[in-house]
């Protein structure tokens, strides 16, 4: 019994530590949001958000990320019940959705740069690329983490540490979803109002 108590306390501390990391990450995003908000009209004669953003495309991106946030939750629930196959299934779906999101974002970036509206066009676009790509980088790192976890689950037996790691990953992924909601609302929706 003593072991269980100690282990729960340790896990609680680890979760809190990871949570504090997420909160500092939140402040990193806040500085980028502030930069974007200040430079929102500094287009240097170039196009603004209303000419650049394809809202239906971004809505699909948002829905994909939202769904992946939901499926990672289902994976966590399956893992706490010890259902390895179900956990792997939902993690696989989460990975696919995350990869699709990242691919769509890269496609959008590639499209913008190809049109001549890269990060060097105006201060507004510099702020836009910095903010959105920082989120994309987090997603890419999350996918790497997820890939390693999926590999471990396939290769080795289901262990207690896997469940705990998965819970932390879930926090990370949900957090990125929340950040994206603000990017969607502030950068895309408000930014596209003429």
């Amino acid at each position: 019994m003593k072991d269980i108590v100690e282990e729960t306390a340790v896990q609680e501390k680890k979760t809190l530590g990871f949570w504090i990391y997420l909160m500092t990450d939140c402040i990193l995003f806040a500085t980028l949001f502030a930069t974007f908000a200040v430079l929102r009209n500094a287009t240097a004669g170039g196009p603004g958000g209303s000419e650049l953003f394809d809202l239906p495309f971004v809505l699909v991106e948002t829905m994909i990320l939202l769904t992946s946030s939901f499926t990672v939750g289902l994976a966590i629930l399956a893992s706490t019940r010890g259902l390895k196959k179900q956990t792997l299934f939902w993690l696989g779906i989460t990975f696919a959705l995350g990869a699709a999101f990242l691919a769509m974002e890269l496609y959008e970036f590639n499209h913008l740069v190809g049109e001549g509206f890269g990060w060097d066009r105006s201060a507004f676009l510099s702020a836009f690329f910095t903010l959105v790509a920082t989120h994309g980088l987090h997603i890419a790192i999350g996918l790497l983490w997820l890939g390693v976890m999926i590999y471990r689950l396939i290769r080795f037996k289901f262990k207690e540490t896997d469940i705990k790691r998965l819970a932390l990953f879930g926090l990370f992924w949900h957090f990125l979803d929340v950040v994206w909601i603000f990017i969607f609302s502030i950068v895309y929706l408000i930014g596209s109002m003429a």
Partner: protein
């Protein structure tokens, strides 16, 4: 003895599934709501900005409760969350405020006028 069980095991699985499904549905609904308001220009722009921001905050709360499970687990989690929000608001609103003031005070000045102004008033 019951108290010693880890907290995340005490709630029933069905309740936890329910929590995720409610969070997911509410997130989808709020996202679509904000999208349609903007696409159809339901309100004038000034109002729409605040409405979209309001919907984003509602969704933040929904996800914090149903996905991030704020309020469960360590109390420090909620405290650090509130502190982070405070810092975020100070950074974002403070930056906007300062830069807008700066913009306002520097308006209508040509570079030459600016140089003279800086020389006379700031000694630069």
């Amino acid at each position: 003895m019951i108290k010693l069980k880890p907290q995340f095991e005490t709630r029933h699985h069905e309740a936890r599934y329910k929590s995720y499904i409610i969070g997911f549905v509410l997130s989808i609904v709020t996202t679509l709501l904000a999208y349609f308001f903007v696409v159809n220009n339901v309100w004038p722009k000034e109002m729409l900005i605040y409405i979209v921001l309001g919907i984003a905050v509602v969704q933040l709360l929904v996800q914090a409760v149903f996905f991030l499970h704020l309020g469960r687990g360590s109390r420090l989690k909620s405290i650090t969350f509130l502190f982070a929000i405070l810092i975020v608001l100070v950074v974002v609103i403070g930056s906007l405020w300062i830069m807008q003031n700066l913009d306002y005070n520097m308006m209508h000045m040509s570079p030459d006028e600016m140089e003279m102004y800086m020389h006379q008033n700031e000694g630069i």
